[in-house]
Symmetry: C2
Subunit: 429 residues, 2 copies
């Protein structure tokens, strides 16, 4: 008998009909002989509606109270789901994050999980009941206040519970069939990726693939929790996110080396590019720039510095950052112009990042060359390049992202013979 | 510095505008130098909307899950109210029933308060913050599950907290100016009652006055908590519900005996009358009837048995009960007909109860006679009569309730010179 943690997002429990459908799926898993623990998000637009109410009473609500407010969303969906399961004849009990033992720090709105003590969840399992746990929420260790985990919170709750319960798998249900080799809306021939390593999935998430949050994959990797991303609208196998060894062992499909080394192409249109022009080429200039930006709590993604032109003694430094932080970053740097002595700043938010992700990329020469060739062949100009062990990213013009993704996808033979990807949405399928 | 517990019902926090208005009232109380603890109900129709959702997923939801669902309502209103107060520059913290230390038994949907351990509330007060507590909810002592207190629950939460904190007063805010000598919709000249004893208020509540629930008044009486019922739409004094001695001491208005002995006229249209016709006049017949009804969990209100007619050896027994339970009661009694040997059953839900309430009624002869005279003078036929130390109730035809109430109100000089009563409703005044 396996322990299975299943996480259902807001679109899977958007209304009473969806909740009843999810209940049937949970009951089927239980009847197949597994111990099921469910993690659930708030219904559909609940969180936005609650935020709207908060805005009406206060322009800047205290974090503690905002967390208290928002956590009512999962309270509603989890109680309804437990009722729907009870109506199918099985016992089910809902638990808040606090009741489930999700202990966090006190950072309201973006709390970190410190510990998980799932005593009540384990008792419910032992008594044959199906526990339904509120995702996205916990209780602070110090003040016993209700907290929320921030972006990707419900997925993280599911993985953390799976780790604490030493579950066999953490199933993340969504409205697509898994992780694809590219966004199916851009590349209709994109294929579902059957297996991917934690590291590659982390690169995919960091490169703009929205299906799993980076934080949840990091947590799963640290505790070795196998994740199965799949659709709540079909019974197809989705994407397994696993450690490299675990993959070979658990799936028994033979040698890892036979896998294609390229997992997929991700893209991200949410970033902007800033170029600091004419930075004096002396020690400590780059450090001063990025320290100032870090002090302003701005996360920098890619950084490129060209070799200094000997004739001028000056260099250009370009970096990308979330476009939301663009204004703050420009203000911060403008204040430093006199002190640092650079010539000017250039800002461009009409950019996009295209990334090729694949394990063992470095050990296969020619991957970079083929990637750049493909992009050039599509008539797309590359503005910046950055690489890691298992990723190559380029920055291109925003309106050329689609062409670059499609060209790279084709160049690495990722296209399937037919259109496989189905984005289900709320059609009830 | 006094400790004041203020309870705001759903109509007082129905939307963002109302919540901001209530926040101003709370802040004004705090700035006047009092320590304020607030108890709040769910916003407007939230509870009905949640019940509707529950009905959509399950025809008979488990009590534990229904409580989990419904308690999200206060979670929303209390967080928003705390935000609105913070926006006015004061610190405020919201607490669930569980966090506030409201410990109950495990009777989901109708839990009884076993203990109140308001350690976190006291700490918040000591630190100068305004605690906002969710009404209507608690946590079960045995299983640590979330419970709800059932009808009148939020008022009871407020009184229980006031008792545990030895508050100086528990203010119950509503949409009328207090307790009136009769329902102002029936008797436009009804007056606000400035002071009333717990016992009279309990009789008023049991006789159909909806402004305070019987249970909350019982709790206040047991722990000697003064209740001040008043409107959240005005600053007028409302009605003080107090112990008889406390009244004279605290208000210093002189001798209790100078008060008019009649407090008011209450009415109730929610009951039905059942007559068991031709009950054999022998020992144990009445006991058998009412034991059967008690076993069916039916609450009986008035019971009247006429003297047996010597010639037949049979008697009639009439009683009133909530009309909702009428069908169950008739079924229960029909099954007993052969065993008990009565002739037939008569059912009438077109009845109403009119009650005259006043301390010391028994020691003032002639009150009953004047009450019956007044009703007869209005052309209303009396079907049943029952009395207590401080109450006389009659059952009349439902369509004659208004006339009977008005006539009694007039006969005991309860009319004011002018129309005083204002029912505020949601007009924002």
């Amino acid at each position: 008998m396996a322990v299975v943690v299943q996480k259902y997002g807001g679109s899977s429990v958007a209304d009473a009909t969806s909740i009843k459908r999810v209940a049937q799926r949970i009951v089927a898993t239980k009847k197949a002989g597994h111990d099921v623990v469910v993690v659930v998000s708030a219904m559909g637009d609940t969180t936005d509606e609650l935020l709207d109410l908060a805005e009406q009473v206060s322009p800047l609500p205290p974090g503690r109270e905002l967390d208290m407010l928002l956590t009512s969303g999962e309270r509603i969906s989890m109680a309804l789901l437990a009722m729907a399961i009870a109506n199918l004849g099985l016992e089910s009990r809902s638990f808040t994050g606090s009741q489930a033992g999700v202990i966090t720090n006190s950072a309201h709105g973006n709390a970190r999980i410190i510990d998980v003590t799932p005593g009540r969840i384990q008792s419910a399992i032992d008594e044959g009941a199906i526990p339904i746990v509120a995702g996205f929420q916990g209780v602070s260790q110090d003040s016993k206040d209700i907290t929320t985990l921030g972006r990707g919170g419900s997925d993280t709750t599911a993985v953390a519970l799976a780790a604490a319960l030493t579950a066999d798998v953490c199933e993340i249900y969504t409205d697509v069939d898994g992780v694809f080799t590219a966004d199916p809306r851009i590349v209709p021939t994109a294929r579902n990726i059957p297996r991917i390593s934690y590291e590659e999935m982390m690169e995919m998430a960091a490169s703009g693939a929205k299906i799993l949050h980076l934080r949840c994959v990091e947590y799963a990797r640290r505790y070795g929790v196998p994740i199965h991303v799949r659709s709540s609208f079909s019974v197809k196998e989705g994407t397994w996110v696993v450690g490299s060894l675990a993959t070979a062992e658990t799936t028994n499909e033979g040698n890892e080396m036979e896998q294609p080394i390229i997992s997929g192409v991700a893209h991200d249109r949410s970033e902007a590019k800033i170029t600091v022009v004419g930075v004096p080429d002396k020690v400590g200039e780059a450090a001063a720039i990025f320290t100032a930006l870090a002090d302003a709590e701005i996360n920098i993604d890619m950084i490129v510095q060209n070799v200094s032109a000997a004739s001028t003694g000056r260099t250009d430094i370009s970096f990308t950052l979330p476009a939301n932080d663009g204004q703050t970053a420009m203000n911060t740097l403008n204040k430093l112009q006199e002190k640092l002595g650079f010539d000017s700043l250039r800002y461009n938010d009409q950019v996009g990042k295209v990334s090729l992700i694949g394990a063992g990329m470095r050990s296969h020469p020619g991957v970079s060359a083929r990637f750049f060739d493909a992009i050039a062949g599509a008539g797309v100009n590359i503005e910046m390049i950055s690489t890691s062990e298992i990723r190559i990213s380029v920055v291109v013009g925003m309106d050329q992202v689609d062409e670059a993704v499609a060209a790279a996808h084709r160049a690495f033979d990722l296209d399937s013979d037919q259109v496989e990807a189905v984005v289900y949405g709320g059609t009830g399928r």
